[in-house]
Every structure is written in C-alpha cells, then in structure tokens.
C-alpha cells in the first residue's frame, strides 16, 4: 500500500537537500555562462588555434557523459595532489560541461542576428568591443533566453548525477531516505515532485523574462 504519511514526511529532508541541487545548478550555469561566453568568443575569433581549441572543447564535453566527466574529474584531483571539496568539484564539472552547450547556444543566437546590426555600429565608428557589448550580446542574450532556461532545467536534472561524488542533493538524499524507511516508492515520488516543482518555477521565470525582454 502507498503510504501517504511516508510520502509527506519525505518532503522535509528532500527540500533540505534541494538546496544543494539548486546551488549546483545555479553556480553551474553561472560558471557555464562565463566559460561558455569565452569559448564562443574563441570559436568566432580570427585566430585559427583559438577556434580549434574551442571546437575541441565543445566536442569533447558534449561527447562524454556528464557522469563520466564527474568521475574522471573527481578521481583525477587527488592524483594531481589537489584536495578539493566534493561540492567544488561538482560545480566546476557541471559548469564546464554546461559551457560547451552554452557556447553553442550563443553561437547560434549570434549567427541569427542580421549582419547589418553590427555594420550599423561599425559604420558610426564604434570599437569592436562596443559593437559586441552594446549591440550583439544584448540581442543574442534575448534570442537565446529560451535555450538558456532550457539548459538550466537540464542542469537541475543532471545535478542528480553528482550524487555519485557523495553530495547529499535530492537524489542522494532520497536514496538514503528510501534505505532507512524501506519505502522507495513514496520517497522517489516525493523526489520527482520536488524536481518537477523546481523546473516548473524555472519555466515560469523563463516565460516572465522572455516577456520582459520582448521587443
């Protein structure tokens, strides 16, 4: 029989664990945005070596599962003598992985802008930096908002993978909970509800931002 009380009681500890899920996802996407922007800039740069590096970066990180990346990164650190908390390792790995996707999102949005947008800025004598900061990136950001929100939602779900390096986020917490209560069904359904709730909130936030930046 499905026990409503076990189901409801699971929410307490799982909500507590959701802090880590959110922290990893938000820091991950933040780091991913920074690195992804740099990688995108490298990809579009006139220097062939930078372009090649960016292409390698993207194909490697998109081609290897995040779970494997996490394990490789986590077990490489001690080998090279770095004692890094699991949380930091998790955020860095998630952020690096996200950077590959985000750089491609940027690239697509930038390619979608009419060439005349930059030309109008160049024609009045703007510096290349100003052309990027004032004209291209703000528009590319608006264009890519739906894709970025999508990426954030994917990260929230992918963050369940960091349970393998021992972080007590939603998935890991529900495994522990299931083991102590012997009620896996109730606990995992509760976990599913929390993921769904978080992602619905993100979708609403995305809709709001899109509406606000619509022109």
């Amino acid at each position: 029989m499905f026990s409503i009380s076990v189901f409801l009681e699971s929410f307490g500890p799982l909500f507590w664990a959701a802090r880590y899920t959110l922290l990893i996802s938000v820091l991950g996407i933040g780091l991913g945005l920074v690195i992804g922007t740099l990688i995108c800039a490298a990809r579009l740069s006139p220097y062939v070596w930078l372009r090649r590096f960016a292409m390698l970066w993207v194909s490697f990180l998109r081609g290897v599962p995040l779970l494997v990346q996490l394990l490789v990164f986590y077990y490489t650190l001690p080998v090279i003598g770095l004692d890094v908390p699991a949380m930091v390792a998790a955020v860095v790995t998630v952020g690096i992985c996200a950077s590959a996707y985000i750089s491609e999102i940027w690239r697509g949005a930038i390619a979608a802008l009419p060439k005349g947008q930059a030309e109008a800025a160049i024609a009045i004598g703007m510096t290349p930096q100003d052309v990027w900061i004032r004209v291209i990136l703000p528009q590319a950001f608006n264009l890519s908002l739906p894709a970025l929100i999508n990426e954030l939602i994917l990260l929230v779900k992918a963050s369940s993978l960091v349970s393998v390096v021992g972080i007590l986020e939603i998935t890991r917490a529900s495994q522990a909970q299931a083991a102590t209560t012997f009620r896996p069904l109730e606990v995992y359904i509760a976990a599913a509800c929390i993921y769904l709730l978080i992602n619905l909130c993100l979708a609403v936030l995305g809709r709001y931002l899109e509406h606000r930046t619509a022109i």
Binding site: A120, A123, G125
Partner: protein, 257 residues
C-alpha cells in the same frame, strides 16, 4: 553647417573570388553635392558605396576622403583600427534594411554613437538625439522601439542616427527600397532637406525621380563598370550609351500602366 567632404575614387577594383565586382572605378564626388548611383541589380553600386566607408574592402586602387585614403595607409597595408574608426566617425551611413538596434528606443539608437563614439555625457547625447529626431519629424516617437515604428519612420530614425554624429559625408544604400510605396516620400523629403543644407551625399537608388530632381550628378554602373557620369538631365533624359538607354527603357516599362 560643418564643412562637407569630397571623395575621390581612383582605379578601384574589387573581387569576390573569381567574380570581378568593381572594375577600375574612377569617380570624383564633389563636396556639398548629391551624387546618385544607378544601374541594374548586381552592377556594383552598393559595393562601391560600401568601399567609401570601408565596410567593403577594395583590393586595389584608392578611395580618398578629403585627400586621405580610407582603409589603407599604403597600397596593401591596412590602416590601424583606431584611425579607420576616426575616419568613419565623419561618414554617416543609411542602409536599405534600416539596421536600427531593436533593443533600444529611437532616442537611444540615436544617442548610442554620441555616447560611445563621441564620448558625450548621457544627458547631452539624449538632448542632441532629441534634436536630430525632431529634425526628421519624429519628436513624438522618441520613446518607441523600432518594432513600434513604420518602415518610413524607422528609416528616418536611421537618418537621425547618422546626422546626429555631424558627418561631413552621407552614404545612402538604397534607402527606400525596403519601404512600402506610400512611405517612400517621407524619407526622400528628409534627404532633400539634408541635400539643401549642403551635405555631401552619395545615394544608391532606384528612385529615378529623386535622381532627376535632387542629384547634381548621376553615375550609371553596369556589371562592375562605371558606364557614365553626368548631369541628371544628360543621363536620364538624353543618354548616349546604349546600356543606359536599355536600362531606362526597362525602368519606364516597369513603371507604366
């Protein structure tokens, strides 16, 4: 009125791969005058115009703005970006597709260059932007984003954006070709005012009426070659070259009903 620039184009060539887009173009654009470039599509008019502010890089020859070559310091040696930007600052350009920045209001579009390029304070830039917009008859549309403006209004904002920078030369690349017919007049009127103030203007256009009435000289191009340069009357009403005659015949046939 600030002084108007002159342009001298000498033996300019441009290739796209194996396609020879501009063939040994020689042309003098006198200061304070309106020069219209006409000719069939693909004749190189726009390419030539874009060489004048070096949005298009020419392969050989020289484009001189008030005697200074734009784009190159010497043949084959590119000019540093800073110097090129300095030259572009006094050359306004208006595009066929307007190219207003959609994330800024009309006023912000005009003020942007004043702030970033001319280094004016935000308040001063916005004051001048308001003046420029009033000049093109859009004082009441300053707070609108481009998406809330008609094509003709957008193009007038684009003209305001260019003239706010106080250029000495204005380039127009088919400024009315993307407009609905009933909106063409308002843009041409703004251009006429500008011409009457003594601005040097180079206009790529299919508006033969504008060329006939406003231009001081008309240039006819075909297949990357400069076929004729003369007064509007001689090019448009008494052309001697068969290529110009044939172009005008097609034009009149298309516009008669």
């Amino acid at each position: 009125m600030v002084s108007a620039s002159s342009v001298e184009i000498r033996k300019v060539n441009k290739h796209y791969g194996t396609f020879h887009a501009l063939k040994d173009i020689d042309l003098v654009i006198p200061p304070g005058k309106v020069t219209c470039l006409i000719g069939p599509s693909g004749s190189g008019k726009s390419t030539l115009l874009r060489c004048v502010n070096f949005l298009e890089e020419y392969d050989s020859g020289e484009v001189l703005i008030d005697g200074t070559m734009i784009g190159y310091e010497a043949p084959g040696k590119k000019m540093p970006g800073r110097k090129l930007r300095e030259m572009r600052r006094s050359i306004g350009m208006v595009f066929q597709q307007f190219n207003l920045w959609p994330h800024m209001t009309a006023r912000e579009n005009v003020a942007e260059g004043l702030i970033r390029v001319r280094g004016l304070s935000k308040s001063e830039a916005h004051r001048r932007a308001a003046d420029a917009l009033a000049k093109v008859g859009l004082a009441d549309k300053m707070a609108n984003h481009p998406s809330r403006l008609s094509g003709g209004q957008q193009q007038r904002v684009a003209i305001a954006r260019a003239i706010a920078m106080e250029p000495r030369l204005m380039l127009f690349d088919e400024p009315t070709s993307a407009l609905d017919p009933e909106l063409v007049g308002e843009v041409l009127n703004v251009m006429k005012t500008l011409a009457s103030e003594g601005m040097t203007m180079v206009v790529v256009t299919h508006e033969m009426g504008f060329a006939a009435h406003v231009a001081d000289q008309v240039v006819f191009m075909e297949k990357g070659e400069l076929v004729g340069v003369d007064s509007p009357d001689r090019i448009l009403h008494h052309p001697e070259d068969a290529r110009i005659q044939s172009f005008l015949r097609t034009y009149h046939e298309r516009n008669s009903f």
